[in-house]
Symmetry: C2
Subunit: 335 residues, 2 copies
């Protein structure tokens, strides 16, 4: 079965490019409330599941021991742009545990955001691991290990206690069995596990609603999701899609992107969560899909619905500011 | 009909993302020698047809009048990276016609190449139109207009003589009828026309072989294609795919990328040309498709075949240099 075309990119009067994908929205019991395409297929959630990976930081007591507020918890769930505030906060998190940049095993890269990259090029010789978009997540791993009294070194390894813990959390939340055969290595070197899209959505619905979770996990989940919704700049950055979506309905929308066209999102007060994958891995399409799916659940709140659909369907301008085409979701979303 | 999956991106043991597309290779008479997917569908060639758009520069006599060698002709066909050599040559081309950067109507943007962008950020306040990846093409337009004695201003417009001339050339080469209904505006503000993929390939096969072309056009076509093959750095830049492909078999492969996953290529000594479009517009997949297609025609030259297939199928490494997955063409190319 081919997955349906969910996003079209137009130029002039014609469709220039097409993006296929799979989308699912479920409630806290795992009931499907909306779906498109083959949602049983396994996808690597990549960075879209960073909030899951941040649970040990909270559940271990490390976040409290080190006095982390919403900004630090949001950064632990972030794919940030490496803006100065992100870099400084990652360093502060490490310092709280008596560590520094040398503890990070995520590797270094320049910012993906052009404006931030230009600022970096003009102010530093080369980026450090603190500038890596995953530095907050990795700082969270380091802090959890320090608080446990576990050896930090090698924390990105499949058999390290923090990765074993995360694997168990992922299994509980998604219902998937995770092992080497569905494991890959992520951009920042930690394990990433392919799970059925439906299970991924159910995991986030459990986190957003607490349904079926032990009290401690429900509290930690809610705390992380609320931290992201409260500090959306620290989850992504200036002009980034995740940040913009969460600002559209403050305190009500959680949204997190992952590489290769994945998105996880939740609307806690409506008790639903969303997971999706653009088949070809393109971010512009995944962003359109998630905003159009979120909008479905705000049909009775026109201001939010309109704002989300304006993010799903938007015009493209060229270097001279001329309107050349549009990104738009297809009729599949009208079903 | 769905177009077939032509490229897969793996992670661990699993396929993470999939790219569909259409590919066609034709000879100078327009006979199909290889095809995948719906090759009658119209695609915007975008920058992949810059060599076509450069024909007036040569046919008008401007290239000779201004003393342009292979480097300038290659730059007129280029989507360059804005490296210092590209920028300087675009300025020289304009100066030869008594113009400067102010004549360019392409708009300005920072380099798409990270290393070049970092160099630009450290040496200039902001990019000019000379840094635009299309500045060589636009300098060619300006030079053709100056040599004709035509008003330069407004040269990006649909009704300007240079765009009328290009429209006629495109119609002759591709066999398509072009007008407002299949016209869009390109990133650099000139018209771009959607043409059936097969016609696009035939246009490049005509350019590469001269078959069916008037003697002057055949000469101009051959001169542009040979200039690109002789100076591949000026068609793209350091570490760019077009440059690398053309260096793989010097003087024998012409290859030019276009935005939204298009590629046009030719092997003049084998009398064939290739056009392709990745359905979702992704460059990584279009690059794999074109190198795998080119490789088919070098089956009896193992060194070139191997080098091209190594560009089609290649590993991906993360920030720590760890092998995380591969980009690979599918069995569709084995047919």
């Amino acid at each position: 079965m081919s997955n349906p075309v969910l996003v079209e990119v137009t130029r002039g009067n014609l469709v220039e490019s097409r993006h296929r994908g799979t989308v699912i929205a479920v409630d806290g019991d795992g009931n499907t409330v909306f779906s498109l395409g083959d949602t049983d297929a396994a996808v690597f959630p990549r960075s879209a599941c960073k909030a899951v990976q941040a649970l040990p930081l909270v559940e271990s007591g490390a976040a409290d021991a080190y006095g982390f507020g919403a900004k630090a918890l949001a950064l632990a769930c972030a794919s940030h742009s490496g803006e100065p505030e992100h870099v400084a906060l990652a360093a502060e998190m490490l310092a709280a545990a008596g560590c520094d940049v040398d503890a990070l095993e995520c590797g270094a890269h320049w910012s993906f955001d052009q404006k931030t990259l230009i600022g970096q090029a003009r102010s530093i010789e080369a980026p450090s691991a603190l500038h890596n978009n995953c530095s907050g997540k990795h700082a969270g791993f380091v802090c959890a290990c320090c608080h446990w009294g576990t050896e930090v070194r090698g924390y990105v390894g499949y058999d390290h206690p923090i990765q074993q813990e995360i694997r168990g959390v992922m299994e509980t939340l998604t219902g998937a069995i995770l092992a080497h055969d569905n494991c890959g290595v992520d951009g920042c070197s930690i394990p990433t596990y392919a799970v059925p899209l439906k299970g991924l959505a159910h995991g986030f619905a459990r986190m957003a609603t607490g349904t079926g979770l032990a009290a401690e996990r429900a509290r930690a989940s809610r705390r992380l999701i609320e931290a992201c919704m409260a500090e959306p700049f620290y989850v992504a950055g200036t002009k980034r899609a995740c940040t913009r979506m969460m600002k559209t309905a403050p305190g009500r929308i959680f949204a997190k992107t992952g590489a290769e066209g994945v998105f996880c999102a939740a609307i806690p007060d409506k008790g639903i969560a969303i997971a999706l994958k653009c088949e070809d891995g393109t971010t512009r399409a995944a962003e359109a899909m998630v905003t159009a799916t979120l909008a479905r659940f705000f049909a009775d709140e026109p201001e939010i619905h309109t704002a989300l659909m304006a993010q799903a369907n938007h015009s493209m301008r060229n270097w001279n500011g001329i309107h050349v085409g549009d990104v738009r979701v297809t009729e599949a979303f009208s079903a």
